[in-house]
Every structure is written in C-alpha cells, then in structure tokens.
Symmetry: C2
Subunit: 637 residues, 2 copies
C-alpha cells in the first residue's frame, strides 16, 4: 500500500547527526499529499507549543508534493514549513525552479529537519544517499558562491543547490532560502531558521523519474499546455514581460503600493515598469522545470550598478516593494536591490516594506540622520535603499533593528511608528492594496501565515473585471454569479471560502498559478485529472477542495496552539486610512465591515467565534488526531 518507490521521507536530526528514512502508507500520502499540508502534519504532531523559532526544537519541513517533477507545467514547486521567526505563527513559503523536482528525482518526498548542528553543515543528497557535510568554508558566503563551490566540489553543475546567505546566518527575521540563487522560498524567515540550525545549504541530485501511473496522459496534458499557454489575452504578458507586466495597469488603477502604502499611485511608475526593464536591462527569459511560460526575466547591467545575471531579475512584488513603495523610479537600482537580496538571502517584499517603513519614519522625523549614520532616508533615494539592504543583511547600524522586521522595529522606535508598520501578524503586506482589492485585504487579515502574497490568489476583484474566462472556471466551484467588484459582501465571502480552499489545494500540491493562468481554456478540473494520472488515484475536485481545507485548518490549529486569537486576524492601521491619491483616492477598509465579515467567515468555516476550528470540523476533515494532539494545550472546543 505504500506510494510507489518514492514514498520516502528523509528525517535529519542535525543535533545528533542521525539520518533516517520514514515510510508511510498510501493513506498518509493521499491525506496530506505534500507541501505545507504534509509539513503541518509534522509540526502539529511532533513540535511542542511555544518553541522559539530559533530553538533547535523548531522543526523545518521542506516538501514538494506527490505530483512534483512530472512533465506537466507548473508542477515544480516546493514548500518550506516551520514556525516563523517573523510571526511566531506557522510559515509556508514556496519556490519554483528545479530544486523540488530534483529532490523527487533523488528519491524523497520531503525532508524533515530537527535540531542544530554544532558547526556549519550542508546536506548532500544524491540518488537516495544522504550526507551531512561540513560547511565552515561556505559560511559567510553568498548564495552564488555556495552554489559554485558545491558544483565544483562534485564536478557536477547539475546539482541543485538550496542555500542561505549571510542574512540567514545573521538571523534576519525575513531572511529567505534560495535555490539556483534566484528561486526564492522568500517569506517568513525560513533562511533564518536554517541559519539557526547552522545549516547553510541542501544540495540534491537525482536520476529517478517521478513515478507516474499513467505517463502518457500526463504527457498529453503537458503537450496541451505547451500548445495553448499563450492563448489567454489577459495573462499572456507573463511570457513576454514577466509578472511585472501588471505594474502600469495597477498604477493606472490607483492600486500600486507607493510610499509605504500611503497611496496607490506612483507618478514615476514608468521608470520601474516591465517595459522599461525589458528595454534597458533584460537579458533572457527563464522558467521552471517543464514550464513553457518562462515568466522569469533575467537582467544584467554594468551602469550605474553592476548586476550579475546569476541572480535572475526582479518580479512584480520585488519591483513594487523596492520600487514604488520606496518611491524609487530607477529600474536598475531596483534590479540591483533584487540581486543583493538574492545574494544575501533576503525576502525582497519584507526588505522593501521595512525600508519603506524606515523612510516614512525618517520623513516624519522620528528617525534622523543620527540613527542612519548620515544617510538621507527620504523616499526615492535608491542609493540609500541599496545601502540599507547591505546593513540589514549584515545587521549593521540601523539595519540591525530593521532586520527584526517592521513589527519589532516599530516597537523599538516607538513614538507611534506602529501606525506606519504595514504588516499582519508581523508579516509585511504583499504588494497588493487590500483597500482596493477587498478580498485580498480580508485575506491578509485572516490568513494564518500573515499578509502573504499568496493571498493575492484570492483576488477576484481583479479577475472579475476580466473577460468571462475566469468566470467559467469559477463555475466548477459552484460560484455561478459575478460578484461586486469593490468591497466585500455575503456573496463574495462564499467565493472567498471556496477559493481559499481551491488555492490551498494547489499549494498542497505545490502547483504554480502562473503556469495555468495564461491558458484561456484551462479548467479547474484539469489539475485534478493530471494529478489522477500521476498517482493512479481517482481524485476528484471534492477531495482536493477538502485537502485544501485540511491545510487551512491545520495551519489554524497550529496557531491556536501557539496562542493566536481573533485579535490577530486584523489589518494594520494603514489599511483603515484613505488612499491619498490616484484613481482610488479616499478608499479605505472599514473596521466594522472587517469585524462583521470576519465573523461570517469563521462561521462559514465552521470555526468558533474566536476563529478556532471546531472539533466537528477537524473530525470532518479526517483530522481527529489534531484534536487529540492539542488536547492539553489547546483552546479548541
């Protein structure tokens, strides 16, 4: 009954150096499937409440899914799950590229890491074999240097390297993890967790194919996607310009985060547009494993900044965070910032957000040149922004405070700076304005992981303005009617709940939305069909939606155990202030509406008034053991 030859989970205890392989039956794989759902299983089952994220007892799970590494486009991601040093809540952050498939090729479905190595180490995994290797020579090195060194050590440039830079070593709370130096498992400080474990990198190489029950069907779907991936006029720009393609449109619509979310209109947005980037520094397009969309835009420059193409190029989130949100209009500066973040292992969104926060504090006179060692931290200063990135990664000067993230930095600065700290549960907002996209704003508030950019997937304000393409896809979910485009209402709340579970199942399988969005005739059911062909199971959209709901409830259960309450499902002050200019000038989120909608949301989820999953809901999702596991510490009724 085990799930084929690759039904193996690698357990590594860095404290003892013990490595073992865990096997599970088909029931386990079909219930959790992969990604953060599988990760949350270990965190709920084996981790005690209240563990400090930097304590050796914090568990870190790195997991692709049962369908990762098949030739279907977008089936290429992996998730990292742990307790976040940024939020104290559960973390789920995902990356594309090639590392996830390679782990599968090497024979593993996931790696569960506990403990802390005495000295820096890295893991080397090749075709099932696993070694804990010394990494003293790699400590302090950039992600690019680490990759080079490992490639050289094994004389194999096809070894896929996931690593941290100095930011992770220095426990910057939003340090990230990179594979191939450019695919970031970006958010929530997973790089710092690796750093706290003295784990510099995980290198993998494998020659097994991901097991496919019906390979021909999977290949047929792959061919179909390759043929059709450009036929959606709404999203085909992804291929041409990358995710940055939406930037100018969002600016025109008055919802481009600008000057630390003070406004949604950046008067010099042209300077950081995907079009400008394409014209001035674009070098080539790249994609992830088996994906024809190739939405990654690699850049290169000599002047005024030298940018190494090894580190890819900035995506929309990065451009907005380090560009418009800091009022910086120079795409080369933004691209340089991106390169540094990828070198040092820093999340570009939180980095941009924390710098924008510092800039607002500076402009409002709360921090001064004395604090910045003479730096002029006004909005728009690209050089200062780049300088701050170095300081944050190395925890120098004011960078040491900003390295703690906006929430903690605001506490440190005091003087009402909490008003300018734009985060939920400690995670800085992604670059979509919740005051314009109501469902995104609401999603930020109630998301168990924080104001993550994956919440943006719930954005149907935007999609419901689009042609009927997306509408048709929604209908399979039982969402038959168009909703109002602005704000929230009851009808939209059902959509929110259904989409939450839908995207959550995609996240459980570590699928990429960008691989499918460009296909006009893409249907929700296609993902189920491909997954059925891979596994040989007769999966259904029902089963997958329940998988998605299971993940959300496991996240919630983790947070309840950690003491999170209804009060944590809330938006930062900025979201209740009016947008200051542009088309959406005056828009703000209503506290009353948020409170009302949050109650309805909890009730729709079958959670209690405090947002805690009920025992009945957990049993219904086949998570009765969670009730038992949490019995002592939890407040579950």
């Amino acid at each position: 009954m085990t799930y084929g030859y690759n039904g193996k989970i690698l357990r590594v205890d860095l404290s003892t150096g013990v490595i073992r392989i865990e096997e599970h039956d088909e029931y386990f794989y079909r219930t959790y499937m992969g990604g953060a759902t599988l990760g949350a299983y270990y965190l709920l089952k084996e981790q005690k409440a209240g563990v400090d994220p930097f304590n050796l007892e914090n568990i870190m799970v790195i997991a692709p899914s049962i369908v990762t590494g098949t030739p279907a486009p977008g089936f290429s991601r992996y998730a990292i799950v742990s307790k976040s040093p940024l939020t104290g809540a559960i973390a789920d952050t995902q990356a594309g590229g090639f590392w996830g498939p390679e782990l599968k090729f090497a024979g593993y479905d996931a790696i569960v890491i506990k403990g802390k190595a005495k000295n820096p180490v890295y893991l080397f995994i090749q075709d099932g074999e696993v070694k804990i290797k010394k990494a003293a020579h790699l400590w302090g090195k950039t992600t690019g240097e680490v990759e080079q060194a490992i490639h050289k050590e094994y004389s194999d440039s096809r070894v896929r390297v996931l690593s941290i830079g100095c930011a992770g070593e220095n426990l910057v709370r939003f340090a990230n993890v990179l594979s191939d130096c450019k695919h970031a498992a970006g958010r929530l400080g997973m790089g710092a967790v690796m750093g706290s474990k003295n784990l510099k990198a995980i290198a993998v190489r494998g020659h097994q194919k991901t097991r496919m029950k019906d390979e021909e069907t999977v290949r047929r779907w792959a061919r179909w996607f390759s043929k059709n991936f450009m036929d959606n006029p709404v999203n085909s720009g992804l291929h041409n310009l990358g995710t940055g393609e939406i930037l100018l449109g969002m600016n025109a619509d008055g919802q481009l985060p600008t000057r630390n979310f003070q406004t949604g209109f950046f008067e010099r947005a042209e300077g950081i547009s995907a079009e400008t980037m394409h014209k001035e520094i674009f070098q080539r397009s790249e994609g992830c494993y088996a994906c024809p969309v190739k939405c990654k835009k690699v850049v290169e420059a000599k002047e005024p900044y030298s940018i190494d193409a090894t580190y890819g190029g900035p995506e929309y989130e990065t451009i907005a965070a380090l560009g418009s949100n800091c009022a910086i209009d120079d795409i080369v500066a933004v691209a340089k910032a991106n390169e540094l973040c990828n070198k040092y292992g820093l999340d570009t969104i939180s980095t941009g957000a924390v710098i924008a926060f510092a800039m607002e504090c500076y402009e409002k006179g709360i921090i001064t040149k004395k604090d910045t060692e003479g730096m002029d931290l006004r909005f728009g200063n690209g050089k200062a922004m780049i300088n701050l990135i170095e300081m944050i990664a190395k925890r120098e000067g004011i960078g040491d405070i900003l390295a703690e993230g906006s929430k903690r930095a605001a506490r440190k600065f005091g003087k009402g700076t909490e008003r300018f700290a734009v985060h939920v549960k400690g995670e800085e907002l992604a670059m979509h304005d919740g005051r314009v996209k109501g469902m995104v704003g609401f999603g930020y508030a109630v998301s168990p992981i924080g104001a993550d950019h994956v919440v943006v997937e719930h954005d149907t304000d935007f999609d419901f303005n689009a042609p009927d393409i997306f509408i048709e896809q929604m209908k399979s979910l039982g969402l038959l009617k168009r909703c109002k485009t602005i704000g929230m209402d009851h009808q939209k709340m059902r959509m929110f709940c259904y989409l939450q579970n839908h995207f959550s199942f995609m996240d459980s399988l570590c699928l990429c939305v960008f691989a499918f969005a460009p296909v006009r005739t893409f249907k929700m059911s296609h993902l189920v069909e491909i997954s059925s062909a891979v596994t040989g199971w007769e999966l259904s959209l029902w089963e997958m939606m329940k998988l998605g709901e299971r993940r959300v409830n496991m996240f919630k259960a983790f947070n309840v155990r950690e003491g999170f309450t209804v009060a944590d499902d809330w938006l930062p002050p900025r979201m209740f202030e009016p947008i200051q200019s542009g088309l959406r000038k005056g828009s703000s989120f209503s506290k009353d509406e948020l409170r009302k909608m949050r109650q309805l949301y909890y009730k729709m989820q079958n959670w209690d008034d405090e947002g805690r999953p009920t025992q009945a809901k957990l049993i219904e999702l086949d998570l009765e053991w969670v009730v038992d596991e949490l019995a002592e510490t939890s407040k579950l009724r």
Copy 2:
C-alpha cells in the same frame, strides 16, 4: 442564458384553471438542477408556514431533472415534493419508469401544482400543450383502469399515465402515486395530496429529445454501462432476481425486519425469498427508461390469488414489509398485496408497517376481534393482511384508523401502543434495521423527510463488508479508510455526512442507485462526466456535493419553518429495544450514542445545537434568500 429549449416549468393552478409557463435562466437550473431541490425551491419561496397538507395552498412539485431522459441508464426518475400529510414535514418521494423522461420529451422540466379543482380532473400534456380535463369518469377507478381509459381516449398506448387510486381519493395519509401502474412515487402520502386537489392523473406524451450538449459522449457512457452492468459480483443479482435478492442474506445476518421489527430473523423467510418468487410466479423482467439492469420482476398468478401482471411485482421493501414484518411466509399473498397496493395507490412499506403494528397490538390484546370485525389479526395471517389493505384503501372499519398511519393510529388506540409504532416523524421505517446498520438507524433519526428507504443509501455497514469495490468509489469522496462495521463513531459520522450529500446530489438529479451499483468499475465521477456532457457545463464533484448539501439544507429550512425541533430527530422506542432472535439478537441502538452523534452531526453540518441551518451555512450554499424568506417565521439564527 436560458437552459435550451426545455428550460420550461409548467405552473398549474387547479383552483382557477390558469396554466402558465415559467422560464428561468441558466443560473437557476445550475443551482437547483431538478428533483426535490427544485421542488423545495418552490415550497420555500411560495408556501406559507403551517399550511395543512390537504389545504389547497399546499404546493406539489413533480420534477425530473435537467439530465433526465438521456440515454444514460438510471437517468430516468422524477421526484414529487410537497408537505407530507403523514409527517407534516417536507416530502420527497421518487419513482423510476418512463413518466419522468416523457415529461421532458413533452417539453417540461417540472410541474408546479397549486389549488384544488372543484371537480375531479386530470392533466393532459402533449408536446408542450397542456389541458385540464374532467375526470369524473375516472374517480374511484384503479390506477390500471385510469391508464386504460386514457390510452383509449387518445388511442395512444404510449401516453404515460401517473395516477392515484382510491387510497389517494380517500386521503389515506400514505397513499402513493403510480406511473404505468407499477412505478411508485411511494412514500409520504403524495397520492393523498393529489386526492385533496381532486387531481386524479397526469398523462404525458412528448416527441422532443432531452437536449444534450454532447450526445456522443452520453451515448458512449450508455454503451459502456450496457457492456459492464453485470460485472459486479455483489450486485449483479439485481438483474437476475431483482431487489429481493438481498432478503435471504439479510435474514441470515439477523437483520430482516420481522414481526413489526421485534426481531431480525424470520424462520420461514424461504417462503418469501426472491428465489421462491422467481420459481413460482415470475413472469418477466422489466426496467426503466434506457436501463439494461431490468431489476423489476413482474409476477403473475392464478392460485390461491389471482395476480394481474399489469401491476408489476414486489420489490425487497414490499416483500419485507408485507411479508416478514407481518410474519407472512407466502410469496403469492405478498405479491397479491403488492398488486392491491398498486391498484389502490398505497405505499407498500407504510401499509405493511401499519398492518404489522396492528398485528402486534392485536397479539398484545390491545385491539381485539371487536375492533377488527372478527378478523384474526395474528402475525402470519396472509388473508387478514390482504383484507386490511382493502379496508385501508377504502377507509373501512379499522382500516379508517390505520389509514392515518402508525403515529396517529397509536394515538387513537392509546394504551401504550406508541411503543409498537415504528416511525420517525410519522413515516414508518423502511425495511432495514437501524439497530444493525448504525448509519441507517442514525439516518432515519435525522432525515428531514422521515425514516425513508432512501436513507438506506447511507448504509455503508453493509457495503463495507463487501469487497473493495465500494471502498474505491468512496475514496473520491475523501473517505480513505474503512470504518468499523457495527455502530457509529466519529470516522463513520464524516462518512455519513459526505454520503448524505453525495446521495442527495443523485436525488437532485433523480438518478437511480441501482443502475450504477452493479457496475464494478463504476466511479462517482462518471455521473459528473455524464451530467457535464448533457448540460455542456463543466460540472465537478465539488459542485454536485454542494448541490446535495443544498437540498438537505433546504429540507431542513422547510422543517424549521414548520416548527420541527431537535426532538423530532429521534428514533422510535423499538430501536432502543434489543433484537429478540437471530444473529443480531440483543442488538439495540443506544440513546446516549444517538444523542451524542446527533450533536456531532449538527456541528459537522454547520447547524446550530437545535439542528437548524446557520445563516452562514445558507449563505455558503448560495441560499441567502432562504434566510430572508424565513426571516419572519423562522427560528434560524
């Protein structure tokens, strides 16, 4: 946006004689689809609370579904929905055969009937045209006579006739509706509702095909079913012996309802087995529209009773109700009883149950020969049983009391006879013992319509003893593990909830379980695929499960409006008494367990502690209007 040419609902007001055609958009059809879901829409929307079921204001909806009448086997049923005179709750009772498809061929998706004709009438519908015709000459006639007369009147033996017999005219509270004199929309007194409206029959004839978006796919599935319908060893007996095939097995297992459910073992079961029936009186097999299974076994006899093959033959439920449950071991007597019930329009289950109830009262000395006009009402007296059927249908003597159903008869008899009245909400139990099949027993208790035999579909005790066939089908529903076979537990409750919604979606589409069960390789998803091909919609199992849940919640909302409470979700005293003999001797349902499981069930459904759908659940199911409609009278929170 309307659903093709047959997106028409026929509205008939018998009081005024006004006939009109109502059209709805695609959203309406995709939300309600058909059957009792569509019927409940009208009852919730247009009927006031507290209407007497025999009042002219009681609405009656007769509805096949959007997929009825396609060549796929089992897509042939229709539902009748109204307020039940037996329970006062919502009624949903379904029949197979040919009438449902014929209504579609005549151009209608449903008939909504209000009011009461001054004198007896019948409806004649042909290719869209509708007439209210006088029926004085048909009043008092048997269903067979009515059919003959109508066939003769139009010189067309292919007119499909749905009619009531004298039981319906006499407002016997469990009078049924028959089409083709043998396909019974059997339960909950829909014949009496027709009788109360002076509506004797509805005759339909049509030449349109049910619209199919992708006819070739539907035909391909039909061929696939025809080819495979006998390959399931568990259920292929349906074709050979009919539903009665299970009788001896159930008796051996100690769960054949016997002597008014006093025991589960009938020592002379051989005499009423399907095998005996086949040997002695079997005439031919018949099926429903487009179905190869042909599970209907037509019988014929001369001695000792003359049995007219026009009225089909007894099914399992009928054989058990009028046979073992009355301790009658003579299949010819049972078949004669079946013929009389079909002639007079009586539900065979309630008829058998109410006679068994009377027999127990008689044996216990509570009713005597004085009450029975000299009849010896001891268990096992086939002649008395047949005699009582005549008396019930004609409301003669003690038959007039029994015609009110067990609940009311027990009240009338008094002297503790409530203990022998085996019903839920007034509906007599179907012929499956809830003390052995825990999920069925639980289903009887909480079913909004009563202890119906459709609840038996939830019986996974039985199926989970079977080979892995059914297990594989369950997995698409996210039910990955075998459950314990006896009693209820948490794991089984999730199965109950999921299966409830699954069978409820099949009921919304008016599908037959017996058409699919015999196919070993049948998958849940096939029904969705066929339905998608018919409608051209990209349906999903998720959407269909939500449709099923919508139906259950609409039923519940109706009952809440009528004043039903948690106390009505309960089992009759007999279910808490031990089974007296046979393999399951001593088994009984535990009150504590029922109370506990009921609470868990309500919570899993996202209902309140009183079993009322929450506002959040109704909104989630796109039923916000139900909250509004019920605002004045309801107790919904």
